[in-house]
């Protein structure tokens, strides 16, 4: 007979549970499961500022200081 604990599921401590970038409300409401088609469509748009815009902003910040 094996000693107790060796064949059981390893215990996962509270600190090992990955919760970063997970919104519990989002998770609970299951938006990503229920609306995966809409989400995939939304993923097609990735608005990012143009390099020249970021550069101009940084220049303005430098001028202000």
């Amino acid at each position: 007979m094996k000693p107790m604990g060796l064949s059981s599921t390893p215990f996962l401590s509270y600190h090992e549970i990955q919760v970063e970038n997970i919104d519990i409300y989002d998770d609970a409401w299951g938006f990503y499961q229920e609306f995966s088609d809409v989400m995939k469509l939304l993923d097609q748009v990735k608005p990012v500022p143009k390099k020249r815009l970021t550069k101009r902003l940084i220049e303005r910040v430098r001028q202000q200081n």
Binding site: F35, V38, Q44, L53, T54, V61
Partner: protein, 195 residues
């Protein structure tokens, strides 16, 4: 291994005179802020102005000691962006002269389209244009939640704080927005043809 500084550590160093720390904050958060503003405001020139104004306002507020760290720098920045957008619409309403519908991206005015896969690029751009249109056709409150959640990555708690509603209301708006978007997708026969 080099430790990544938290937003607050960067702010503290910036206030003490380390200019580059604010630039790091811009690089870290620019996409979230820009996504929110540019999807909310259809006039891209105006969106770019508001994007810059948001960070300049952040500097003013940080320097005048108005920022107190609670680990939520980005939600505070988004609130500033939100207020600037609201101010803009108030001004427009008062003047009653400017339309928010005059943005139309030029599909053909890009050097990138000279590549071999011109057709794919055109289709992809058309899909992106359709999606932007879908988002813009949502009621304001629903549109804001979708953008803040999906594109800016804020939690529903943060969205509720920024938009001054309960978490349940924010969640409800998200749900209605997704349902409405699905209906519009079906009505307009929009689907993904390029992955």
């Amino acid at each position: 291994m080099k430790k990544t500084m938290s937003d607050y550590e960067l702010i503290e160093k910036f206030v003490k005179g380390e200019q580059s720390c604010f630039e790091e904050l811009i690089r870290r958060h620019k996409n979230k802020v820009f996504a929110y503003i540019s999807l909310y405001i259809r006039d891209q020139a105006l969106a770019e102005d508001l994007f810059q104004d948001t960070f300049l306002k952040v500097i003013q507020s940080v320097k005048s000691g108005k920022y107190y760290d609670n680990g939520k720098f980005i939600s505070w920045v988004m609130r500033i962006a939100h207020n600037l957008i609201i101010d803009h619409f108030r001004r427009v309403k008062q003047l009653n002269t400017v339309s928010n519908d005059d943005y139309e991206s030029d599909l053909f005015n890009s050097r990138k389209l000279a590549d071999a896969n011109v057709e794919d690029q055109l289709i992809k751009r058309q899909i992106q244009k359709d999606i932007r249109k879908l988002i813009s056709e949502l009621p304001d409150d629903q549109r804001e939640v979708v953008i803040l959640r999906h594109y800016s990555g804020l939690s529903f708690k943060e969205i509720a704080d920024i938009t001054d509603v309960s978490i349940n209301t924010a969640l409800g708006r998200m749900r209605y927005a997704l349902i409405n978007m699905r209906k519009m997708m079906e009505a307009k026969k929009i689907s993904l043809t390029i992955n």
